[in-house]
């Protein structure tokens, strides 16, 4: 059986360790201490934890003020509220001043499930990616989450880290060399490139196996940093395979698919198929059911890969 860990749980765990090591770390939440998994930090370091109540805009401003006084701040809430409700505070109070605020947003994507569309952050990557200087990271599993949080604390300036609610497969081993701004080749291949972020990596790996059975060799690359984007790895892979699929648990407008399209459009256009939510709001349901309905499964990636490969002739 594969091991399952929710990225938010991994965050809660690493946060305790970081709280120990880094006395400068201050954590904020907006009445979501349990859901965002900062509660253990709150219990262990009450003098460095502040619940700001259901007031996300103020929380982001307070985070900026703390950071301007030298603190490294982790501000947590759900992805939709961090990126939507408080977008302008993130843009102006935090990012315009390039402050050390790390926004850790849980409940990213449609895998939030039963709570439905109001709680599914499906535009957050797009909203955060457009802010100058903002780094955007979407870890694929628990291991990468821990590494991403540690790296985010070390790097200067604002960072947005998107985590999920649901338990998802652990893919990486401890020795995985995570670096902000670097993509990572999980499977080498020559017929098609599949770029993913977040929990879509596990779907892509299943698609890769299915393609392999048919003799199609897919390259699977984890693009956990959406910004700054690892353009080099994307262009090189597109160059060697000639067909690209992107897969994300986000609107196809403005997320990974857009980022990859921007890069390839300017540098090396090849047939591109984007898997993502197709300009629709989510709804209630089990994560698996929603993945089926919104066409985010391994099978959808598989089909998109074949379509992209079939389009290679277009160029000629």
């Amino acid at each position: 059986m594969e091991e399952l860990v929710a990225t938010r749980d991994a965050f809660g765990e690493i946060l305790l360790k970081l709280g120990e090591e880094n006395k400068n770390l201050v954590v904020l939440t907006a009445d979501l201490a349990e859901s965002t998994r900062v509660k253990k930090f709150a219990e262990k370091f009450p003098e460095r934890f502040f619940n700001m109540g259901i007031a996300e805009q103020n929380m982001m401003g307070v985070a900026a003020g703390l950071a301007r006084c030298g603190k490294t701040v982790i501000a947590t809430t759900f992805a939709i509220f961090a990126s939507g409700r408080a977008w302008e505070q993130v843009r102006y109070s935090i990012s315009h001043s390039y402050l050390n605020v790390k926004i850790v947003a849980t409940h990213g994507g449609i895998s939030v499930g039963e709570d439905g569309s109001s709680h599914q952050g499906t535009e957050d990557i797009s909203l955060m990616r457009t802010i100058p200087g903002m780094k955007v990271i979407v870890p694929a599993d628990g291991v990468e989450t821990k590494k991403a949080i540690q790296a985010a604390i070390k790097v200067k300036g604002p960072v947005y880290i998107r985590l999920g609610r649901a338990k998802t497969p652990v893919i990486f081993k401890e020795d995985y060399p995570f670096q902000i701004g670097r993509g990572y080749i999980i499977r080498k291949g020559k017929d098609v490139s599949i770029f993913t972020c977040g929990i879509m990596l596990s779907q892509a790996l299943k698609a890769e196996e299915k393609l392999k059975e048919e003799g199609i060799s897919a390259e699977v690359i984890n693009i956990s940093t959406l910004k700054p984007l690892d353009e080099k790895i994307i262009i090189e892979s597109a160059h060697s395979t000639g067909a690209v699929v992107t897969a994300e648990e986000h609107q196809i407008i403005g997320g990974l698919g857009s980022a990859v399209a921007e890069t390839l459009g300017e540098n090396y256009p090849v047939p591109l198929e984007r898997i993502g939510i197709k300009d629709k709001f989510g709804e209630s349901g089990k994560p698996e059911e929603l993945f089926e309905k919104y066409q985010l499964t391994a099978n959808d990636i598989y089909k998109a890969a074949k379509k992209a490969i079939g389009r290679k002739d277009e160029k000629k």
Binding site: A63, S93, S97
Partner: protein
């Protein structure tokens, strides 16, 4: 010169700077800059512990201009305190200038945080006051709000959080000039009763005449003695104060004086300053 006259003189100088800057820039916000001039003079030339030679001094008092559009006034106070040469004031709003249309802490020494999007500055001030508490520092945090600005929901989120965390190192000043862009605050979106609202949010409230320097100084002093809650000073002011044709005139919220108007304004201000000079 005694302290009061010294501060009156400073406030007058700040007002003159504002007029000169806006006339050169041909845009900007005179009304709300002029209404806050006496308050800023008291802060920068009396109240704040700061060091223009070391703008990032850890233990400095912080001042946040939450009503960021009044930044010509802030720039003048900073320049006249020695953060940068007063000649630079003439570059306001020009391309490549350090003096942006709204305050930018990445560009201007002495500016604590980027403001201009109303409602945001007070949250940042709360964060700074909170940091002061965590680090057991003695610095105080001052934040200046507009009376139209408090229509923003974020202001009240911030107000709630400041009293919740007992931030007695935080002192807000409300420039209660009764006007906003589209007209009198009472007509556009009435925030009254203002004092009762802040009191209900757990703040210590004080009212002053925002152009009476001895009163302002006294209130700042008193605010420091209040323990366990933040203080807000409701400063009753006149928008456009000091320039007859701008006083209480809605249009001068965001309209620069013409060259001619600036001349008249400067003459009036210089005339005014004779009152305490002799």
């Amino acid at each position: 010169m005694d302290r009061i006259n010294f501060l009156k003189e400073k406030a007058n100088l700040l007002r003159q700077d504002v007029i000169r800057m806006l006339a050169v820039a041909t845009s900007g916000h005179p009304g709300g800059s002029l209404s806050s001039a006496d308050i800023l003079a008291c802060l920068y030339f009396n109240e704040l512990r700061h060091n223009p030679e070391d703008p990032e001094w850890e233990d400095r008092d912080r001042f946040i201009l939450s009503k960021g559009h009044a930044c010509p006034l802030l720039y003048s106070a900073l320049a006249r305190s020695g953060y940068f040469p007063p000649e630079e004031l003439q570059t306001l709003r020009k391309i490549n200038s350090r003096l942006q249309g709204h305050p930018d802490c990445k560009k201007t020494p002495g500016v604590e945080i980027c403001t201009g999007s109303l409602g945001q500055g007070i949250s940042v001030a709360v964060g700074m006051a909170l940091a002061g508490k965590i680090d057991k520092k003695r610095y105080r945090v001052y934040v200046l709000l507009g009376d139209g600005e408090i229509e923003e929901g974020e202001v009240w989120e911030a107000a709630m959080s400041a009293s919740h965390y007992k931030l007695d190192n935080l002192c807000a000043i409300l420039d209660n000039n009764s006007l906003q862009i589209d007209g009198p605050i009472k007509e556009v979106m009435n925030p009254e009763p203002i004092i009762e609202k802040w009191r209900a949010f757990g703040w210590n409230t004080v009212e002053v005449n925002g152009h009476d320097i001895p009163q302002i100084l006294h209130t700042f002093k008193k605010a420091k003695e209040v323990k366990g809650k933040p203080t807000i000073i409701i400063a009753h002011t006149i928008k456009g104060k000091g320039v007859s044709f701008m006083e209480n005139v809605v249009e001068f919220h965001g309209k620069a004086p013409t060259k001619q108007e600036a001349q008249i304004a400067l003459t009036q201000l210089k005339e005014e300053s004779k009152k305490w000079k002799n």
